[in-house]
């Protein structure tokens, strides 16, 4: 019977998939806990979520330490390899930090909020879905995982359901998401039509075997890029980003700005690298990349994205919106690594993503902590806050300086790596543009610093020191220390990123 020939998953697959399985279980358990507590005991879900994330994290670390080759599981749908391991750690870090920090956030836990517990287990579910995004090796799983992350995001964006802005954000997110998913789905179907394969490897084989029309491949790639650009908020699919970040609760914006973005990059790396670039014979892939002039395409997208994000961020007066545009510009820097689909470029993306996760989460969390007290994210309301909360202010300086890319902070190491990868292939105009862009970035990042430390608060303004929850101290310190240390000691992270990409090219 043909049934046996089908690649049906078995229980043993789960051995490579423990973190994901644990997170799914955590989600269900936390949901059950919420129901048992009748929605009035968010602590139950919080504890279960934290515990589940930590356990999943421990298993992910164990998997990294254990090393080992890539495993294709779940009937060819999923691959667990070095890159997946890298992103697992990243997502669990982001998820755990967000859950922990949200416990102290007024926007999530404030007295007027309903369904507080939901936030925690939705974050867990999103973490799991993002991990699957980084592991998908099949068009079906690609689409499913993206939609899973998307659906959770829509709900989380509208978490404050009595707030007009939050619901607006959610609706915008849904509509944009639906449109871009549709476009991408169209591209995926074209690709399937061209190659007759669903797995990335099969697509690659199909592309190399058949006579591929350059124009139709270009159109297909652009359609698929559209869906992925939406996920990572690259120009011209970035419109949702500022509105969603501003409308959604800040902790949600925090994880949006790093999680789905990193997952989108993971997916892009695996998809495009496998279908267009990788393989036993590197020279065989060159025609595919040249056929659609991929380097120029990516270089232009990267250049436009970073410049647009930076220039618009200059005009923002709301810190959350500013951070939203700044995240767009960072996507531009990240896309630089894609220009040549080289190992160094992709490893630079991984490196930058790790660094970016730390610093961007940190910056958003400081906004959360301040919002608890001043109930605002407007730049004007930050005047002199650095002296009321010196510790928070110092943290913010560290994160913003790192986002700017000033040594000795981690952001500099990330930029350095990306620039090196790009310049190694002689894309000088892109490197110069990116370098100048980071100078522009300085201006708007330091407007926040200026407001916090340099501007004197208005007469009669409250000058009492702010009280800060111990959990906020802990989480921010956990993010700030690596942000600082990775700035001058980034060897290990580079090795980790290089390994992840190295395994990607050999494991297929």
């Amino acid at each position: 019977m043909e049934l046996l020939n089908l690649n049906i998953p078995s229980w043993s697959d789960l051995a490579y998939w423990r973190p994901e399985a644990i997170l799914c279980g955590t989600f269900l358990a936390a949901l059950l806990g919420d129901l048992i507590g009748r929605g009035r005991r968010p602590a139950i879900s919080f504890v279960i979520s934290v515990f589940g994330l930590i356990t999943a994290g421990a298993y992910s670390v164990a998997a990294v330490l254990h090393g080992g080759a890539a495993h294709t599981i779940m009937g060819d749908l999923i691959i667990v390899d070095g890159m997946a391991a890298f992103f697992r750690l990243l997502f669990i870090l982001a998820g755990l930090a967000t859950v922990l920090f949200s416990w102290t956030a007024e926007e999530i836990m404030g007295r007027k909020r309903e369904n507080k517990a939901e936030f925690f287990y939705l974050t867990v579910l999103m973490t799991a879905a993002m991990m699957v995004m980084a592991e998908a090796r099949d068009l079906l799983m690609l689409f499913l995982s993206m939609e899973a992350v998307g659906l959770v995001s829509y709900v989380m964006a509208g978490y404050m359901r009595t707030s007009l802005r939050s619901t607006e954000a959610s609706l915008k997110y849904v509509i944009f998401g639906a449109v871009s998913s549709g476009i991408m789905l169209y591209g995926l179907s074209l690709l399937y039509g061209m190659t007759g394969a669903m797995t990335f490897d099969g697509i690659r084989a199909g592309l190399l075997a058949g006579e591929v029309n350059g124009l139709s491949l270009l159109i297909t790639v652009i359609l698929i890029l559209a869906g992925m650009s939406y996920k990572i908020a690259a120009v011209p699919f970035h419109f949702w980003c500022p509105d969603v970040y501003e409308g959604a609760p800040t902790p949600v914006a925090a994880i949006f700005s790093v999680g789905p973005k990193a997952a989108g990059f993971a997916l892009m790396i695996r998809f495009f690298y496998t279908t267009l670039a990788a393989g036993a014979d590197p020279s065989a892939s060159a025609p595919l990349i040249e056929l659609i002039n991929w380097p120029l395409l990516m270089a232009v997208i990267a250049a436009v994205t970073m410049t647009y994000g930076n220039l618009v961020a200059l005009r923002q007066l709301n810190v959350k919106r500013m951070l939203a545009y700044s995240s767009i510009s960072h996507v531009g820097y990240l896309l630089m690594g894609f220009v040549l689909l080289t190992d160094a470029g992709l490893a630079a993306i991984l490196f930058y993503l790790a660094v970016y996760t730390l610093m961007n989460l940190g910056a958003f969390f400081v906004v959360v902590a301040l919002n608890n007290h001043i109930k605002s994210e407007e730049l004007d309301d930050y005047a002199g806050i650095g002296f009321r909360a010196p510790w928070l202010g110092t943290m913010m300086v560290i994160f913003l300086a790192s986002l700017t890319g000033v040594p000795p902070f981690a952001g500099f190491a990330g930029k350095f790596y990306v620039f090196t990868a790009v310049m190694d292939r002689q894309w000088f105009w892109l490197a110069i543009l990116a370098a100048l862009n980071s100078v522009v970035g300085l201006y708007y990042y330091f407007r926040v610093v200026k407001a916090m430390f340099l501007t004197r608060p208005a007469e009669g303004a409250d000058t009492t020191p702010l009280k800060i929850h111990w959990l906020q101290y802990t989480v921010l310190a956990v993010l700030a220390v690596p942000t600082l240390v990775l700035g001058f000691w980034f060897g290990p992270l580079k090795v980790l990123a290089d390994q992840a990409i190295g395994l990607l090219s050999t494991g297929m």
Binding site: P407, F412, F419, T420, L454, G491
Partner: protein
């Protein structure tokens, strides 16, 4: 400490800053004392450096060489030669004096001194790093403290001045970053064959890749580096951040800014651009002297027009850094006899040192009067000489040193520069010499308006200079006077290394 004297000098201040971070902010006196101690130890080590430095060789000394980030071939590589030792001495001296001069800071004391010490670490690091990456990190480390020092403790337009300083310098340094990466990718380590950030390997033209040997590429990289350094010097037209930053910065920060930070630009050109791209340096020699002349004259004319004492001193810095450029450019001309070239470049580096000390005195002097009168309007004073005789004598001393009075150190370095420049670029040198006349004009004019003439009754009760202020001015004054009479202690330090540099660039 003998083994790792450079590391100790560099990192002791930042250790001090870390200690300060744990002292409660109410204990202001303790914080200040710790800061002073953390700055004093590098000063002691600097003396040790001065004594132990072998003046007979151009090789790098006190070298420390360790692997840092292996996967990027980044090394922790420190060492000094005749070019960097004077700068290290200057930094150690001025940092300590500035800590003392900051004693009256009362706002957010903890932050101020911690940032100041971090800044000091950055300065030492720049002057002793021999790995390009390390150099760059130290170079950038200074930006953040400087931003806050100007921005929090500065004058009324401090926010504007701080971000302007930051933006300008960062714009320059990203160009340097790109040039650095270009070098990294195109210089191979002769031992391992991999990429390298080691400056000594970069100096060796044999290690450069074919691409890096293309003339156009070299010129472009030179320009990138040059703009990066020029902004720091600052060379006209990249100078506009300087007057703003100086006017708004607190006194001690102005001193560091003018005394040390400006030198980093010229130091960078001499340390990095010249030996790495000697042919481009020759190509750029003429533009360099022209820019020098423009700096001298433009700075001097602008200084003459100022009514704010600090701004006047700031523009005088622009003018004085022009002399340095003049000497640096003249050195590169091929076919000039070795003696002239030596005079030019020794004069230039000596001028860097002297400008550091003299401007420090001037800024400290302006700080003294600003602390008392709370303004710096030149026309708002008059006849202060009778009210504050001691202060007046100190300040006049500084001003005379600035205008290049023979017998004070500034005269010697300027004279050497002109001696070296005349054979190479006669016309430019003659035009630049006008700068000395204009320099005398603005200095004397200010002296007259502030200290001479009828006394302004408003200032009848101004107390004269106090012991602490005297303590900051006297040591520098002694150095200026000593080196004016007998400059050999500093000239001997750098002579051999600079002669070697001439061989590399113009030989």
């Amino acid at each position: 400490m003998g083994e790792h004297i450079l590391s100790w000098m560099t990192f002791f201040p930042v250790i001090g800053a870390a200690v300060i971070a744990f002292i409660p902010s109410e204990r202001k006196e303790i914080i200040k004392t710790v800061a002073a101690a953390a700055a004093a130890i590098p000063l002691v080590l600097a003396v040790q450096l001065y004594i132990g430095f072998d003046r007979g060789t151009s090789a790098f000394q006190f070298v420390e060489h360790y692997t840092w980030i292996k996967s990027f071939h980044i090394e922790y590589f420190m060492g000094v030669d005749g070019l960097s030792v004077p700068m290290m001495l200057l930094t150690a001296l001025l940092s300590f004096i500035c800590i003392i001069a900051s004693w009256r800071i009362d706002k957010a004391v903890k932050g101020y001194f911690a940032l100041f010490l971090i800044l000091e670490t950055g300065m030492f690091g720049v002057f002793s790093a021999l790995d390009f990456f390390l150099f760059y990190v130290f170079w950038e480390v200074m930006l953040l403290p400087m931003y806050f020092l100007i921005g929090i403790w500065g004058g009324p337009r401090r926010e504007y001045a701080a971000i302007k300083f930051f933006l300008y310098t960062l714009a320059g340094s990203v160009l340097m970053l790109l040039a650095m990466i270009a070098f990294y990718l195109n210089v191979s380590d002769p031992v391992t064959g991999g990429h390298t950030f080691n400056m000594l390997h970069m100096f060796n033209q044999a290690n450069h890749s074919e691409w890096l040997q293309l003339t156009n590429v070299r010129h472009l990289i030179w320009l990138g580096l040059f703009i990066g350094f020029a902004i720091k010097v600052p060379i006209v037209p990249f100078h506009t951040w300087l007057p703003d930053a100086h006017v708004e910065a607190p006194t001690a920060v102005s001193v560091i800014l003018a005394g040390v930070l400006l030198k980093m630009g010229t130091y960078g050109i001499l340390r990095i651009s010249y030996p790495m791209l000697p042919d481009a340096a020759q190509w750029f020699a003429y533009p360099m002297v022209i820019l020098g002349a423009i700096n001298i004259l433009y700075g001097a004319f602008c200084a003459m027009a100022q009514t704010d004492m600090k701004k006047l001193v700031a523009y005088s810095s622009v003018s004085h850094m022009g002399y340095v450029l003049l000497g640096m450019g003249a050195m590169c001309k091929v076919g000039v006899d070795l003696q002239s070239a030596q005079a030019a470049i020794n004069g230039a580096v000596f001028q860097m040192f002297n400008h550091g000390t003299i401007t420090a005195m001037m800024f400290l002097g302006v700080g003294v009067i600003y602390d008392r009168a709370h303004h710096r309007e030149i026309n708002g004073f008059g006849g202060l000489g009778m009210q504050m005789p001691v202060y007046t004598s100190f300040f006049s001393f500084a001003l005379f040193a600035a205008l290049g009075l023979p017998g004070l150190s500034g005269f010697i370095s300027e004279a050497m520069i002109f001696m070296g420049t005349f054979p190479a670029y006669r016309t430019v040198a003659m035009v630049s010499a006008l700068g000395i006349v204009i320099g005398a004009a603005y200095v004397l004019w200010m002296l007259q308006r502030v200290f001479l003439g009828p006394k302004n009754d408003k200032y009848d009760s101004l107390p004269d200079i106090n012991a602490r202020e005297m303590f900051t001015l006297v040591p520098i004054g002694i150095i200026v006077l000593l080196l004016g009479v007998y400059p050999m202690p500093v000239l001997n330090l750098m002579k051999v290394s600079l002669t070697n540099l001439i061989k590399v660039v113009a030989g």
